[in-house]
């Protein structure tokens, strides 16, 4: 097995995630795209861990998973707050600070 | 005992058949014994008596009835998600069955992280329930799905935390190692009954049973399908075969959780050491026990007689029946919690209790 096949999978998922973050207006969908990006990074970490025969890759992937869980928790709380105040989770409408 | 080598495809087909048997046969047995008969006796009646001797074929009649009913899909529902949801719930049941050991070799997959895997896949059913609740296009279903998700997430935590105590004591996440640790363990030097963790982890056992009751949405915790408030919760719109899938999923999962509990707390497929010593050829050869007891290595390893591959399923079935008896006994005794009482019970009672249990177990593990 080539190392590159895992890295290319990660790269493709990463780009799809970027596309999602840039084009979506819905707050929850943006959070989902960010999850996709974090997961592609995780594939990279685990693949390099397997390549170097070192446990650090897996450990860092675990750390990223934990951070992602925290991120989703806070992110979803913010989205719910936006929904409660504006009856919509369209992030393009959350522009009160715009000059 | 079985010396012949089978090709990979033969063992795969055998395992597939066994998986169906492991999921369906105990489900049918417990539904007949407890859901049909025991609850009837609790209400001073006899239950089904007509289909087969003592009504034992009643379940087949019910399955036949469900199978011929019309498969109704609500008009404004999301059809694909609606149809897929029962299969997701059932998938979680089958994935749970994969890691349960029924003997030293009688296991579908011997995962290094067996119990952790079981707890992980048990939460897949929540996704199926949410899918069913959302796709039905009914407010009762949606309310039921949301309630189920909130409840299952809340009780997932005490479930996992109760297992952590066992894992600390056994020194392994592998289910075979947990069984070995209980069989070869000693209670202050007295090893006649081994060390089933129900004795040392009694608090964990109680928390595990309560959390399982909630995970299965059995009665004191049945707000997701509260029939007096929500018609039938997330399965309101389902009929016929798809309802049957939900039904199988619910009762088969109850059995598999009972299997897991018997592995974690009652010694799994093995029998107490004094029984094994009494019967020639059953006693295991234990290596690494001294290291496991004083904490220098993870778990002791033991090679068991392969007779346990036949004996183990029987032992497991006995323990499973005893534990599901408790589940259904509680189910048919107590009335339903209120929604806020449910969440308060999980977060303010069970989780702190489980955390204290973990702390005490950890301290004692280091001290002894």
């Amino acid at each position: 097995m080539f190392l590159n096949q895992f890295l290319f999978l990660a790269a493709i998922l990463f780009c799809i995630g970027i596309y999602g973050v840039l084009t979506r207006k819905n707050g929850v969908l943006m959070l989902m795209s960010i999850e996709l990006i974090l997961n592609s990074v995780n594939i990279n970490l685990v693949a390099f861990g397997a390549y170097h025969q070192h446990i650090a890759g897996q450990v860092f992937a675990l750390f990223v998973i934990a951070v992602a869980a925290a991120e989703v928790g806070v992110g979803l709380a913010i989205v719910l707050l936006i929904y409660r105040n504006r009856r919509s989770i369209n992030v393009a409408e959350a522009n009160l600070m715009k000059g | 005992m079985i010396a012949a080598e089978f090709p990979y495809w033969a063992t795969s087909i055998f395992k597939l058949g066994m998986a169906l048997a492991v999921v369906l046969a105990p489900a049918g047995l417990t539904v007949y014994l407890y859901l049909f008969k025991m609850v009837s006796f609790m209400q001073s009646r006899l239950g089904p008596m007509e289909a087969g001797p003592y009504g034992s074929m009643q379940l087949l009649a019910e399955v036949g009835k469900w199978a011929q009913k019309e498969d109704i899909v609500p008009e404004r529902s999301d059809e694909f998600v609606y149809k897929a949801a029962p299969y997701v719930v059932l998938l979680s049941t089958f994935l749970l069955a994969l890691v349960v050991p029924f003997g030293p070799g009688a296991q579908f997959v011997d995962f290094d992280t067996g119990i952790f895997f079981a707890l992980a896949v048990s939460s897949v059913s929540v996704v199926g329930i949410l899918m069913a609740g959302w796709a039905s296009a009914s407010k009762y279903s949606l309310m039921g799905g949301l309630r189920a998700a909130g409840q299952l997430i809340a009780y997932e935590l005490p479930l996992v935390l109760a297992v952590v105590g066992v894992v600390i004591q056994a020194g392994s996440l592998n289910m075979q190692d947990i069984v070995t640790a209980q069989t070869t363990g000693e209670i202050f030097g007295w090893g006649a009954i081994g060390n089933p963790f129900i004795i040392t982890q009694f608090v964990g056992f109680i928390i595990f049973l309560i959390a399982v009751q909630a995970e299965l949405t059995q009665t004191p915790f049945d707000m997701p399908i509260a029939e007096s408030e929500l018609v039938s919760g997330y399965m309101t719109e389902y009929s016929g075969f798809r309802f049957l899938l939900f039904f199988i999923g619910e009762f088969a999962t109850a059995n598999i959780f009972a299997f897991l509990a018997s592995v974690l707390f009652l010694g799994g497929w093995s029998v107490p050491p004094f029984v094994m010593d009494a019967i020639p050829g059953l006693a295991p050869e234990v290596t690494g026990l001294a290291g496991a007891l004083n904490g220098t290595t993870g778990a002791a390893t033991a090679s068991f007689s392969s007779w346990f591959n036949l004996l183990g399923p029987i032992v497991m079935a006995t323990k499973m029946l005893a534990l599901t008896f408790i589940v259904y006994w509680v189910r048919f005794t107590f009335p339903r919690f209120r929604e806020d009482q449910l969440q308060r019970f999980a977060w303010k009672v069970l989780i702190p209790l489980a955390l204290i249990n973990i702390t005490v177990t950890g301290v004692l593990k280091v001290v002894f």
Binding site: I18, L36, A50, I65 | D78, D112, V127
Partner: protein, 181 residues
């Protein structure tokens, strides 16, 4: 997933069986990419969440192919059990409609697509240059849970503790933000 684990582990260890793991990998990768594409293009929020679920499962399967069993199970526990349920919960609390929703995307989709393609091209080129035909070690051992825990509780104990504090802060923060007063 588990049958996959057996085949992947048995075959990844032996050189002549590595192609089985390869076939599994390409199948998983195809599923993951298709589901990811559907996720960013579908016009239904719940469908997007379910497609993300497929991607996350495929990623867990990839970890198993790479011999990282503990990470795979953690992925299942945290993502499938907690994060996805949380996301679906959020989607349903914000009244996701059944059927097609308009107004989920910005008007200038092509800008996003351009950025993604350019990023992908840059990363693809550099990956090809750096690791053109580097192979994974054929005789790799699966990384056991014991190694992971030993590593976390010795070398990486400080990040681990920092992460615990972060999780606690996130927990309290989420409660404070979402609380209705």
């Amino acid at each position: 997933m588990s049958v996959l684990a057996v085949i992947a582990q048995e075959s990844a260890l032996s050189d002549q069986g590595a192609w089985i793991a390869n076939i599994f990998f390409y199948a998983i990768a195809a599923v993951a990419i298709m589901a990811a594409l559907k996720m960013v293009t579908t016009q239904n929020v719940v469908h997007a969440a379910l497609y993300l679920l497929v991607v996350l499962t495929a990623v867990a399967a990839t970890y198993i192919v790479l011999g990282a069993e503990f990470a795979a199970v953690t992925q299942a526990l945290v993502y499938l059990g907690a994060v996805m349920v949380l996301l679906l919960f959020g989607v349903m609390l914000t009244r996701a409609k059944i059927g097609i929703e308009t107004d989920l995307d910005h008007e200038q989709k092509w800008m996003g697509a351009l950025v993604a393609v350019v990023t992908g091209a840059v990363m693809g080129y550099s990956l090809w240059e750096a690791f053109g035909d580097v192979k994974l070690p054929a005789d790799q051992m699966p990384q056991t849970t014991q190694q992971v825990s030993d590593s976390i509780f010795s070398t990486y104990i400080v990040p681990f503790e920092a992460l615990s504090v972060l999780l606690l802060a996130a927990l309290i923060g989420a409660v404070v933000v979402a609380r209705r007063d």
